[in-house]
Symmetry: none
Subunit: 150 residues, 2 copies
DNA sequence: GGTAATTGTGGGGAAAGGTGGGTAACGGTT
DNA sequence: AACCGTTACCCACCTTTCCCCACAATTACC
């Protein structure tokens, strides 16, 4: 499932964040509005139930002898929670995820293919800043982008 | 049985640790809430009754002539205890397991496929630190992760 | 442009979850 | 048989989470 757009919200003292209405509508179609939230690359990844099921399937096939990949599973699966927006469309972000992603006040939610992401506003701005710098300095990156037909 | 999420607790002076409520619920479905706890890879592994039965089945097929594997069985099966959470949802971790996993105060419980794990907070942070370093330095690992469809 | 619906934010109260401690049963040892 | 340390079970408190309701702001629609 693909998600589109960028949304800014504030996380309240209780740790609740609003989920964009269009995303909620899309999630309603598949599961009963629930989705899965986990930690990755300095932000939170959110997956629709059936996309997450596919991922879990693959995670459970990782051999327990593969030390590095096991560490990844500990991190990724260990981070996950199933969440359901309340009647106002918010979810409660567990303390562990809140601190991982550095969510304190201003929050950005981004659509992505197969998922959406929850960022602290400050971190997301840094990330974008880095990208803009690189796209100017790295001709290879620019070529890769134009290869997408953009 | 798959377990999801990360939970932080404190182990009290009596050696009791809380078990995450969602895990307790899942364990209730199969056995009467009991599970099996043993020592492995610097932490404690916890298995639901039927998953553990499968493991014992395989352990009992290890030929007694296989010296190395026998050492493993001694270690793994020798460490195991069956535990049942009390009315408050805690278990008593036997001293031998407590010292093996270095559990003193702060404890992390992690969901994994087929089991959950009990870590000392400090050790788990080291483990995660190592992983994050490797994922940045090792492009092969990053590729393996993205191959999971993430 | 005015009205209605939707969306986002804040807060209160009830329920659940987690922590600490007391006391009685148990088991092993002298 | 008495003693000591450990375990099991119980109760009480505090914090967090869940589920409401209310209001402000924005958007959609006539």
């Amino acid at each position: 499932m693909i998600f589109r757009g960028r949304f800014e919200y504030t996380i309240d003292p209780k740790g609740r964040v609003n989920i964009p209405a269009p995303f909620r509508d899309r999630l309603q179609e598949s599961a009963q509005g629930s989705f899965f939230l986990t930690n990755f690359s300095d932000c939170l990844y959110a997956f629709a139930a059936d996309d997450w099921a596919r991922i879990e399937e693959r995670l459970s096939r990782v051999p327990s002898t593969d030390r590095k990949m096991n560490a990844f599973v500990r991190f990724f699966l260990g981070g996950v929670v199933e969440v359901v927006p309340d009647k106002q469309g918010r979810i409660l972000v567990p303390p562990s995820l809140r601190s991982y992603a550095g969510l304190e006040k201003e929050v950005v939610i981004l659509g992505m293919p197969n998922r959406f992401e929850i960022w602290s506003l400050a971190r997301w701005q840094e990330e974008i800043g880095r990208f803009e710098k690189e796209v100017h300095e790295d001709p290879g990156l620019a070529r890769e982008i134009s290869a997408l037909g953009i």
